[in-house]
Amino acid sequence: MSLQKEIIDIINDVLMLDGNTDDFDGDTGLLGSIPEFDSIAVVSLVTALEEEFGCAFDDDELNADVFATIGSLTTVVQQKLDE
């Protein structure tokens, strides 16, 4: 499974989107686009990603650029896995 697909699955679980993520791709917007994506959801998602991939986010990575789209988030997680 591609990293992007894995991240979409985690977003589906964390935001409880009930499988309505089939048409999600790299261009799908997160912050400001998905109503369920509030500040608590950001933290839940980051926690889930850290647990799943064994990586750590810094405070300054909790910003609008990282959580703009699924693509931007996937890029950041990929960089962490490559470190």
Partner: protein, 280 residues
């Protein structure tokens, strides 16, 4: 259908003020009626878990088990402001809840710790050794990790706004200076912050005489129990504690934006309390 339980709201005296108490008494009561004392989660999570608590009360009173929920000082409908709360006070309030259950005539008591409430329940069980078992719902094992996530809510809330986000280090500086910090509408005092920060399940490894039943809620079959949780359970078992672990598939009701339920967790908990081995 007749009402399966009697709901008795009231106040009990805590160390620092009156505590709101909600007592669900089953329709048929004997000397042996067991009672589950709910130890709630923290801040917004406490509200988000309320409905699950109500559902559990309905399910277990129907099988002849009582439920008692007491809001710790400065939370829910109890006296005091959130900013006045401290971790030690919350442990004492949890003990007060157990003592109230004893006054109500319950000799068989279990505690259900929800999220951060699991750490409170473990601390209180060390002070009241008559507690027959601890049940955990998605327990927080490290207060420090929970606080980091809590502070991140503050950072995440400022995303896309003009205001300065701040960093965890800045918030800690504020606390070290003796000032409270406000996160998502909750004023957390340094006393409470440092109390939670030092709380960890590893501090309770000598609690081996009380069986523990640990529920992990997973969003789907693909998710796994966090490794840190498994380590805590293993360590407890090595010390001689009786720890059983059960996973349930369901949404993260404690953090859900909308009111969200995990009915399988209710069914599994009720079955566990009824001692039904088929559901374990």
């Amino acid at each position: 259908m007749s009402n399966p339980y009697k709901l008795d709201p009231g106040y009990i005296s805590g160390g620092r003020g009156a505590l709101f108490s909600l007592h669900y008494e089953p329709a048929t009561r004997t000397e042996k009626t067991p009672c589950v004392i709910v130890v709630p989660s923290f801040a917004e999570e406490m509200n988000r878990c309320r409905y699950m608590q109500t559902l559990l009360a309905q399910a277990i009173t129907a099988q002849g088990i009582a439920l008692l929920a007491v809001d710790p000082f400065g939370t829910g409908d109890s006296q005091g402001e959130f900013e006045q709360a401290s971790w030690e006070q919350w442990i004492n309030d949890t003990v007060s809840a157990c003592d109230h259950a004893t006054r109500l005539g319950y000799n068989q008591q279990s505690m259900l710790g929800i999220r951060l409430g699991a750490l409170l329940a473990a601390a209180a069980a060390e002070k009241r050794d008559h507690i027959q078992q601890l049940i955990f719902w998605q327990p927080v094992t490290s207060g420090k990790v929970a606080l980091n996530q809590f502070l991140r809510i503050k950072i995440a809330a400022s995303i896309g706004r003009e205001e300065e986000a701040g960093t965890t280090a800045q918030f800690e500086g504020q606390l070290a200076g003796g000032n409270s910090i406000e996160v998502a509408g909750y004023d957390v005092s340094p006393e409470l912050y440092y109390g939670i920060q030092s709380a960890h399940m590893n501090n309770h490894m000598s609690l081996v005489g009380t069986p523990i039943h640990w529920f992990t809620v997973l969003a789907s079959e693909e998710r796994k129990t966090p490794r840190g949780d498994i380590q805590v359970m293993d360590k407890w078992r090595e010390n001689g504690a009786q720890v059983s672990h059960q996973t349930v598939i369901g949404p993260a009701f404690w953090q859900a934006h909308e009111r969200t339920l995990a009915p399988d967790l209710i069914t599994a908990t009720a079955a566990h309390l009824a001692g039904d081995p088929n559901h374990e």
